[in-house]
């Protein structure tokens, strides 16, 4: 990346013509001279000397004495020197004043000040103060020997011609001139502010141009940009060197890049550490100036053993750069042979802060792009891991279910055979009968879980096989109820069924429908409060068979209602008084089966006190009545 070769000058103003163009100045002066008929000179700074902006017009209004004296080259030189010396004095005095020029005439001088700096001096006057006449004559006699061809007689003559003024006159004249000076000062200041602003804007644009937007993961383009930018900051702000630190772990940071400066020793930049911990309490508005050696050593811990003591005498100013509200980077500006108070100037302070913000902003967007990329890669990797884990889990479940079928089959067959056998020989032996029946019941429950697991894994792959026959709904439901006899009894739950018609028929998969109803009833029983009723209703409405399963219990909160059919969703009841077991797949399976039969399932959960007027319901608010309604199309 090439450094911008177009140098943008900083906003320092050294002379008046920096802010007001010469032609414009001349115009103002010409106007004033014509109006007031006075001589007027401006001395503008040029480095260490002054030069005149105007000459020709001024001379038109010179008094005869001055005109005569200044017609001699040596005379002109002397007058100019007198003016220049006075202008230099003004750097300290800064006040309009009148004085006796070297000839002894009264002159006025007005400083033009911009931003606390005197940039030009306006001279007018050439007035005769009568009480000073003797001095003038004495001086004129002196000058005769110095200035070749000068006539004392003529000098005396011109002096007497001059209309004398009083001290009041002088004061009044100063007042008049002051108004002009204020006007010019004001104009100059405005122009100056505008220019300064422009220069600063240009500088920021230039800084911006160093930051290239395409960052790779290692951020080195950013640091390259900072290296070049630091160079420019150094020049623009008039610093001896600018260092740039980026914190890697928020503690110490090695120098990431530097602005070159022939004065810095070779080892300085590569081994200097900045201790960020002590910078934590940065006041955002104040760059920190390190005045004492102790301060510097705490911030630059390695500086002591590096032989850089002499640099510690520099005025060092730290500009913190915040990224994502953490202190992550820092500009260190150093001034060797500093100008006392230079760095702390409020204008400069705010300007430096603005630079820090610009850099911070650039780094922020660079970092966030990089972070986004890193995050995306991490997220993608995580997503892949998750999906892999999910697939592994489902495969495991599928395989495990498969493995369980063999033993389940065997246990079931043995139990059934046992019951058959017992009926013949041991029908009076309660223990054997009970045990045998119990075993079958439990195998059934086991089977039920396995069927759900098996279904859920094949469901996603669209692998479910439906064996379609015409069958009656009522016996299926009755069998379901029978399966839950033990559990219901255990919890004093009464399952009541109402079949409008015992010939409700459906065309579909009998076994799968059984699983669906099983799951719904299982749910109802699990979430029912102790001692409550569960009511099942089945009837025909038009071309549909409606089955309602309702119970009193914990209920389903409004925000959960949409989620209960989601795979693995187990609810988020905040006030669970007991742990409710479950895999979260029962309702998912039921819904899938019902919908595969061209049916629909809906759920409603509201505070009890609804239509059923159940006599043993508790006060409203203590139980929720949750009803699942299934609608199946009769084919």
């Amino acid at each position: 990346m090439e450094a911008n070769k177009h140098k943008i000058k900083p906003y320092r103003i050294s002379k008046l013509t920096d802010v007001i163009d010469e032609p414009i100045l001349r115009m103002i002066l010409k106007g004033f001279i014509q109006e007031h008929g006075v001589p007027l000179n401006i001395l503008d700074k040029r480095g260490d000397s002054y030069y005149r902006i105007n000459s020709v017009q001024a001379k038109q209004n010179y008094c005869n004495l001055c005109a005569y004296f200044r017609s001699f080259p040596e005379g002109e030189k002397l007058c100019q020197k007198c003016d220049a010396d006075k202008a230099n004095e003004l750097l300290e005095l800064r006040e309009p004043q009148w004085y006796f020029c070297h000839l002894g005439l009264v002159d006025f001088v007005f400083p033009i000040e911009i931003e606390g700096q005197v940039v030009a001096a306006f001279f007018s006057g050439q007035r005769r103060l009568k009480r000073h006449d003797d001095k003038v004559k004495a001086r004129a006699r002196e000058l005769v020997s110095q200035v070749k061809g000068l006539s004392f007689r003529k000098m005396k003559h011109f002096l007497r011609e001059m209309h004398p003024v009083t001290e009041e006159d002088i004061k009044r004249l100063i007042g008049d001139f002051s108004r002009l000076m204020n006007h010019i000062s004001k104009l100059a200041s405005e122009r100056y502010s505008a220019q300064k602003k422009l220069q600063e804007e240009l500088f920021f644009l230039e800084l911006l141009s160093y930051f290239v937007k395409s960052y790779s993961m290692d951020l080195s383009p950013l640091w390259n940009a900072m290296e070049i930018a630091s160079e420019r900051i150094k020049e623009f702000c008039g610093m001896s060197y600018v260092l740039f630190f980026v914190s890697k772990q928020g503690l110490h940071s090695e120098l990431s890049c530097k602005a070159s400066n022939g004065e810095l020793p070779r080892g300085f930049t590569s081994r200097l550490l900045l201790d960020f911990r002590s910078l934590d309490s940065f006041d955002d508005d104040k760059p920190i100036v390190l005045d004492s050696t102790a301060d510097r050593e705490s911030i630059f811990p390695t500086s002591r053993d590096m032989g850089v003591e002499k640099y510690l005498k520099d005025q060092i100013c730290l500009i913190p750069i915040h990224l994502r509200s953490n202190l992550n980077a820092c500009l260190v500006l150093g001034m060797t042979n500093y100008d006392q108070g230079n760095i702390l100037n409020p204008n400069r302070r705010s300007f430096l802060k603005k630079i820090a913000q610009l850099i911070g902003g650039q780094m922020q967007s660079a970092y966030s792009e990089v972070l986004e990329q890193e995050l995306k890669i991490e997220t993608d990797a995580n997503i892949e891991k998750l999906e892999k884990a999910n697939r592994a889990r489902e495969e495991f479940i599928a395989e495990m279910t498969h493995q369980l079928k063999g033993p389940a089959q065997s246990i079931r067959a043995e139990s059934e055979y046992l019951t058959m056998h017992c009926k013949k020989k041991y029908q009076h032996d309660k223990v054997i009968m009970d045990s045998a029946n119990k075993t079958i019941e439990e195998v059934d429950i086991l089977n039920h879980q396995m069927e759900n697991a098996s279904f859920i894994t094949t469901m996603d792959k669209q692998d479910v096989y439906y064996r379609l026959t015409q069958f009656l709904i009522t016996p299926i439901i009755k069998e379901c109820i029978k399966r839950f006899t033990s559990v219901a009894k255990r919890r004093l739950i009464d399952i009541v069924a109402e079949f409008e018609d015992s010939s409700l028929e459906l065309f579909g998969d009998k076994e799968k429908m059984s699983i669906a109803f099983n799951n719904l009833l299982d749910n109802a029983v699990k979430y029912s409060h102790r001692g409550k009723k569960i009511k099942i209703k089945a009837y025909q409405r038009g071309q549909s068979i409606i089955v309602e399963i309702g119970g009193f219990g914990l209920g389903i909160p409004d925000d959960d209602i949409d989620k209960i059919f989601e795979k693995y969703y187990r609810g988020r009841l905040k006030d669970r008084r007991r742990f409710i077991p479950g895999t979260g797949i029962g309702l998912t399976v039921a819904k899938e089966i019902i919908e595969a039969h061209d049916g629909a399932i809906a759920v409603e959960s509201r505070p009890a006190g609804g239509e059923w007027h159940d006599p043993d319901k508790l006060k409203a608010g203590e139980s929720f009545l949750t009803t699942f309604t299934v609608a199946l199309t009769i084919k």
Binding site: G406, A408, D463
Partner: protein, 152 residues
């Protein structure tokens, strides 16, 4: 009634009760633990019904085609039956076959049921009573079919 039933199943211990209930009903049951043995038995004896598990191995000394899916040799037995011929012996191609299987793959199941044709497909684990009823229904059906075709 009396009938000969071929029970093709590799996990013989697990299905002993299925065999028992059939025996108690007066059927004679022979067991084959792999596809090869099943086909050999089909050759040497005559059966009225086959109870078939899909998941099993081919078996030793088999001259059945090698393009059988891994551990799905039961399909081969079914195929052979439906061909109606084992080596030089003719057999009843429409012999009732009750599949008793743990295979849940829909495509496989569809292929077996529709292409090859089974009388009944029971998923393990199945209730003993359901099994018995299915077998008896199947035997009854086949008997009726045979009687009807004899008449015509």
């Amino acid at each position: 009634m009396s009938a000969n039933i071929l029970f093709v199943e590799d996990e013989t211990d697990r299905v002993r009760r299925f065999v028992d209930v059939l025996t108690e009903r007066g059927y004679s049951v022979e067991i084959a633990e792999d596809a090869e043995k099943a086909i050999r038995l089909l050759y040497t004896s005559t059966f009225d019904l086959v109870v078939l598990d899909i998941m099993m191995a081919l078996g030793e000394g088999s001259n059945i085609s090698e393009t059988v899916a891994p551990k799905r040799a039961g399909i081969e037995v079914l195929r052979k039956i439906r061909e109606g011929k084992i080596r030089d012996k003719e057999i009843d191609a429409n012999m009732p076959v009750v599949v008793l299987s743990a295979v849940s793959d829909r495509r496989e199941r569809q292929m077996i049921t529709e292409e090859l044709g089974v009388t009944s497909y029971l998923d393990k684990p199945v209730a003993l009573q359901v099994f018995t009823d299915t077998v008896e229904d199947a035997l009854m059906e086949r008997k009726k079919e045979k009687a009807e075709s004899k008449e015509t």
